[in-house]
Amino acid sequence: MRSTDGDIVDMFLERNEDAINATSEKYGRRIRNIAFRIVGNIQTAEECENDTYLEAWNRIPPSEPRTYLMAFLSRIARTISINRSVSDHRLKRFAYIDELSSEMEQCIASSSSVEKEVDAKLLIEAICSFLKKQPKEKRVIFMRRYYYLEKTSAIAKCFGYKESSIRSILFRMRNELREYLEKEEII
């Protein structure tokens, strides 16, 4: 029987190395999938997975993600994988990250001519607040694209839409988000 999230976090807190095995057994496949979607290479995805365990080991304690261990790990795996993709400059993946970055840039391209220093903490809070006001479907589509970095074609298949529909949903959401951020004086 596999350990509960609480058990695993306890093992991390006790500095018990079995925590890594228990995490790998329970969430390894999902962490690998997140990394693979971003880096597009099995070996690199596995390296990112291992780095994720190491980072979790370093962060627990002080963190104690008993109730959100998978989300905690996915955040780490995502950050490590994006950094890896960017630093490795893997041509194809790098281009993909660039594509996503330029889409995201639309959300913070203020119509004002004055460049404003953006507070990252306020910005992410405002984005989350905006997303929570959206219907669940749109919210999940946005997260699948910009958190899990999924291709629009894959999202379209999951949701039963044409790819062009997903692209226009995301386009409208990016514009609405930019307007929201301007209204909230974040950008």
Partner: protein
């Protein structure tokens, strides 16, 4: 702040948003508003269908449409295990599975019917949510021999689960033999798909003798870890470009890059010598070392997917420059002779 920073910042999104979106729910198409005039007719059709379903399932069996229980299970993304198949974790069908098993019709999930339930395959023995332990699982009738897709009987409906294959760890120094034996290779090998480094399918091998020969080569390779293959990649860089901009960190066994941008003169000569005349960057643009190394190392690499009769798949990466096959948790050593044979069979 740039778009790339914002993309990274999304890692700090609320846990609730991350959890909600981790497993994309199968949302129905919502096109009711444009079709409102059809609603009364749809009601009539629904009644007719309900009567039909009642007639079809009058023996007390359940309909296999998506229930709230299944949706909840899918949202949670639980992995499950069966008592009859050790070491294989089943997960809710994702987009790739749905395409593979033809579970989508015109972009929407197909609704399974009673006739889709095949032979009994086993009982759920482990489930992270503990909700499915003890439930019975069946083959998907469309693929009666596949263990890689199963239907689990719930209280009032059924749920689909899929598996990639066995969880296998190959210790350092060991060959792929045990792992492949677990999959029943070469006897159970059905096909090998070969993809180039751009993920383009270049060949599907179905000839039994070819599959056997490829497997024979692969099982003779031992896991040597990543340090030695990395050393070979660095050596290939040195031999090609005559500098140490890329080097091996002996302590960690990983490859490091010097923070250098190659100037245009060097880039041009590289484009001609190693990219076969294909320009990958616009004129005047400078090229980081990592890009050059990646192109050099991976331009000839291949992705192999071996499928066995139970439907399980093994993914392998073949990198000729590193003389290695990456699979499971290891890097497996290839000799020049083995690579020659492998190339002849794959290309």
């Amino acid at each position: 702040m740039k778009g790339k920073d914002l993309l990274k910042l999304m890692s700090e999104a609320d846990v609730s948003l991350i959890e909600e979106s981790e497993n994309a729910p199968q949302v129905e198409k919502k096109k009711i508003s444009k079709m409102a005039w059809l609603l009364p007719l749809a009601g009539v059709v629904a009644i007719v269908l309900l009567i039909g379903v009642g007639v079809l399932f009058q023996n007390g069996k359940k309909q296999t449409s998506m229930s709230s229980e299944e949706k909840r299970h899918e949202d949670l993304g639980y992995g499950i295990y069966l008592d009859t198949i050790a070491g294989v974790e089943f997960h809710s069908a994702d987009a790739e599975d749905k395409i593979r098993y033809g579970l989508l019709s015109d972009g929407s999930d197909i609704i399974l019917s009673q006739s889709d339930i095949g032979e009994y395959i086993g009982t759920v023995s482990d489930d992270r949510g503990q909700e499915l332990v003890g439930k019975k699982a069946y083959h998907y009738a469309k693929y009666p021999k596949y263990n890689s897709i199963i239907i689990v009987e719930l209280e009032d409906s059924y749920a689909l689960f899929c598996a990639y294959g066995y969880s296998v760890d190959v210790p350092l120094g060991d060959s792929l033999k045990d792992a492949f034996t677990k999959y029943g290779l070469p006897e159970k090998g059905v096909k090998i798909e070969v993809y180039d480094h751009n993920e383009k399918l270049i060949r599907t091998i179905t000839e039994r003798s070819d599959i056997e020969q490829i497997v024979e080569i692969l099982v003779s390779c031992n896991n040597i870890g990543y340090t030695e293959p990395n050393r070979r990649l660095v050596q290939a860089w040195n031999e090609t470009y005559g500098n140490d901009y890329v080097y091996l960190d002996e302590k960690s066994g990983t490859i490091k890059y010097r923070d250098i941008i190659i100037d245009q003169t060097i880039q041009e000569s590289i484009s001609k010598s190693s990219f076969g005349g294909v320009e990958t960057k616009s004129e005047g643009e400078r090229l980081p070392v990592e890009d050059m190394a990646d192109e050099l190392w991976h331009k000839d690499s291949l992705e192999l997917i071996i499928e066995v009769s139970e439907g399980y798949r093994i993914r392998l990466n073949y990198c000729p420059l590193a003389r290695k096959i990456s699979a499971f948790n290891g890097a497996f050593d290839l000799t020049e002779e083995k690579m020659k044979k492998l190339d002849a069979l794959l290309k």
